[in-house]
């Protein structure tokens, strides 16, 4: 099955992105509140398609934290967390997200009081403690999409348990709001999500071209609807239009790296939201990121077939959401790098050792070791935090990038 959502239209990417921008989502949330729709504070790996189908408006504190960090407005939230006794060793998304919850402020304006809290338990333990705190502090109905720690996320019993969790989440929403699930709407939402994921994957595949027409800097912004708006037809339309636009750029030989694509790189980790210029700096120096686990493995259609089966919505969503990279053994994670290095003709790796996100950072060194053994590629390791700029120096980063690019240059010459 392959279809474009609205092939007859000429894609107007700008206006589509505008509809899905963080600011537009904020305005939609206010409208949802006025219409009496429930607002739910959700963690990033909750099956958002179900929320969409049930007309529950999700607010994602991690996305809000990333946005606040991106526009350098997170400090006041960190300060609020410090005042409340939260140590800096707690993930910056959590501290910033809680700051947003206490102050009910966001980059776009005040956040209306939510009705529900829903979290997944798959990605990290903080997703449990953080929401447990929200439940405890704000006293709202809270649901935990239970996904126990595992190193075998493909086990059918495990997937079945999670499938039941999705059904339980539906019951929870029905018990606590006036929303009711329509299976037709859910199937439609899954169809839209599938198309969004499909076109996202196609965009990523365009990066196998030499030069790759896609800038990681741009993708870091364009990924937002894939986190927050799955289920929505606008979202599927947007990714189709985005794909068409990148395809056209590819045919014209466009390359985001200035002076042509001299090096093709992998970025491992969450983007450094407070200093996305780091990526731009690479691009200015002729280095182009062509693959990232964050864009390729964390979002989109993560089922074994790479598609979602709208006729089996609960099962397909269970397969998708249980497929969590950090729940896989390191050898398996290396396998993805190994494949990407071959498919995308990679020259080097940039690893972001993120002090906030332990699940992503633990084991990174071992994967690097495996990559070095198998491919002998140069690796640059940055230490820092995805949202908290404390201790980060752009000047230092530039010096290290320059040194790394010199090594790559040397290899090219030899």
């Amino acid at each position: 099955m392959e279809e474009s959502p609205s092939k007859e239209q000429t894609p107007d990417l700008k206006s589509m992105l505008k509809k899905l921008s963080a600011g537009a989502s904020y305005r939609r949330m206010l409208a949802a509140r006025e219409q009496g729709k429930p607002i739910c504070v959700a963690s990033a790996a909750v099956p958002v398609e179900v929320l969409y189908a049930m007309d529950v408006y999700p607010v994602f504190p991690e996305s809000l934290a990333a946005i606040a960090a991106g526009i350098r407005k997170a400090e006041e939230f960190f300060e609020a967390a410090r005042e409340k006794g939260f140590s800096n060793s707690v993930c910056s998304y959590t501290r910033c997200g809680l700051g947003i919850a206490w102050t009910q402020k966001s980059a776009f304006g005040p956040i209306p009081e939510p009705d529900l809290f829903i979290t997944d338990v798959s990605v990290c333990c903080l997703h449990v403690t953080w929401w447990a705190y929200l439940e405890d502090h704000f006293k709202k109905p809270t649901f935990y999409m239970d996904m126990p720690a595992t190193d075998d996320p493909w086990d059918p019993d495990y997937v079945a348990y999670y499938e039941e969790q999705i059904r339980a989440m539906v019951r929870f929403i029905e018990e606590n709001t006036s929303s009711r699930l329509s299976m037709e709407k859910l199937k439609e939402a899954v169809r839209n999500s599938d198309l969004a994921g499909l076109y996202w994957k196609k965009i990523l595949e365009l990066r196998q071209d030499r030069p790759s027409p896609v800038s990681f800097r741009s993708l870091a912004g364009e990924i937002l609807p894939l986190v927050t708006a799955l289920g929505d037809k606008d979202c599927a339309d947007f990714y189709w239009a985005l794909y068409e636009s990148y395809k056209q750029q590819a045919s014209q030989g466009y390359c985001p790296a200035q002076g042509g694509e001299r090096f093709r790189l992998i970025w491992n980790g969450i983007p450094i939201w407070h200093h996305l210029q780091v990526i731009t700096y690479f691009e200015e120096k002729g280095a182009n990121f062509v693959w990232e686990p964050y864009t390729a493995l964390s979002w989109g259609n993560k089922t074994p077939s790479g598609r979602l089966d709208a006729e089996n919505p609960f099962h397909t969503l269970a397969e998708k959401y249980t497929n969590v990279l950090t729940n896989m053994p390191l050898e398996r994670r290396f396998g993805y790098f190994d494949q990407a290095i071959r498919d995308y003709k990679v020259d080097g790796l940039v690893m972001f050792s993120n002090r906030s996100c332990r699940p992503q950072s633990i084991g990174q060194d071992e994967v690097v070791e495996m990559v070095r053994d198998a491919h002998g590629l140069p690796v640059l390791i940055f230490e820092g935090d995805q949202a908290d700029a404390e201790g980060f120096s752009m000047q230092e980063a530039k010096t290290r990038i320059d040194g790394f690019l010199e090594v790559l240059e040397g290899r090219k010459r030899s």
Partner: protein, 374 residues
């Protein structure tokens, strides 16, 4: 057998903990298996029922160990220390390690251990974060699989009867520890000795620990040694060496640790396993959301328990000691703090590393806190 004096019994607890590597190696030399437990969410009952010795992985003070681990700088000293011990061969007697996820660090350090194949058998428990019929039956199924694997390893099939017997022994241990917790002041046992009573429970065969506890509790009561003006505090800590340093620091500044809340998430004295139904299901019900662990245990219950301990022991303040980079308990503190503030419980958080100098740097804070309690 001649009755032991109280100080002899206390010395056996101390040696039981400090000499753990040696006694485990001896156990192993007798042809019996040893399984390491990475924290209190691992149900030791199943290990015991398979004829194996469950031993909690605990920190050991030796500055070189953290470096040896080669883990990321922003990870807690506990994970580094234990990893360092494993790499150094101090846990070579282990037949396997079970990990129950308490935090992202203890869960994911397993990935590295698995990659480096540090033990023949390494297993992550699939512990749900919820407690409801679906979660209990999912967890019980995982425990049944675990029992089969361990049964093969230990050469003793985990029958229902054996499992009930093991549950009974650990329940007895929980009751005795609870009793000890309430009577340690009346027995005149120092905070440092009390720490070893708890610590040894993590590494000793349960039968031996129960028998020592019974001897300890049988002895006559003594007048508590505290002077009336001495401010008593409750110390909550994860890291046992750091807790010891803190006990000494408090005493140095004229305070007294009258109650403790020591754990590796193993404040397991709180919850007994109900002896009803099918044993794996009973274990699931006894463990899920019943072991005080940040996020998967009611904050209200946890705060109430601490407040109750303070009331019973007469503690006037609470010192919550967090190991640097332990995000799990740093977060728990911040959440409990709301209640401590509301209830007017004097409290203080200390964040330090596992070396005496790190805590010593905070001595002025400890001193001022104690002064504020007088």
């Amino acid at each position: 057998m001649q009755k032991q004096t109280r100080s002899e019994v206390l010395e056996r607890f101390r040696q039981g903990f400090l000499g753990r590597h040696q006694s485990c190696a001896e156990w192993k030399n007798k042809g019996r298996g040893v399984i390491g437990c990475f924290y209190g969410l691992v149900p030791r009952e199943v290990i015991h029922a398979a004829g194996l010795l469950p031993v909690q992985l605990t920190e050991e003070r030796d500055g070189r160990l953290e470096e040896k681990a080669g883990l990321l700088p922003f990870l807690c000293g506990m994970s580094k220390n234990i990893t360092g011990q494993i790499y150094e061969g101090r846990y070579d007697y282990l037949d396997g390690i079970l990990v129950g996820a308490v935090c992202d660090t203890n869960r994911h350090v397993l990935d590295i251990w698995a990659h480096r194949k540090v033990v023949p058998y390494l297993r992550l428990l699939r512990t749900p974060s919820t407690a409801n019929p679906a979660a209990w039956s999912f967890y019980a199924a995982d425990l049944r699989r675990l029992a089969e694997e361990l049964g093969r390893m230990g050469g003793q099939r985990v029958t229902e009867q054996r499992l009930w017997e093991s549950i009974g022994l650990y329940n007895e241990n929980r009751s005795l520890m609870e009793k000890f917790r309430h009577s340690r002041q009346a027995l005149g046992i120092s905070a440092e000795d009390a720490l070893y009573v708890f610590a040894s429970s993590l590494v000793m065969p349960v039968e031996e620990h129960n028998s020592l506890l019974r001897s300890l509790l049988e002895g006559p009561a003594q007048a508590p040694g505290s002077a009336s003006g001495t401010p008593g505090v409750l110390v909550s800590a994860m890291n046992l060496n750091m807790a010891l340093d803190l006990i000494r620091l408090v005493e140095e500044y004229g305070g007294q640790v009258v109650a403790d809340d020591l754990s590796h998430s193993a404040r397991y004295g709180l919850s007994k396993i109900a002896l009803e139904g099918e044993p794996f299901l009973a274990l699931a019900k006894g463990y899920l959301r019943r072991v005080p662990t940040p996020g998967i245990y009611s904050f209200q219950e946890r705060a109430e328990d601490l407040a109750e301990q303070m009331r019973l022991s007469g503690a006037r303040g609470l010192i919550y000691l967090v190991q640097l980079y332990c995000d799990a308990f740093a977060m728990e503190y911040a959440i409990l703090k709301e209640r401590f503030d509301l209830w007017g419980i004097p409290h203080m958080r200390l964040e330090a590393e596992d070396n005496p100098a790190s805590l010593q740097q905070l001595n002025v804070r400890v001193q001022s806190f104690l002064e504020s309690l007088v």
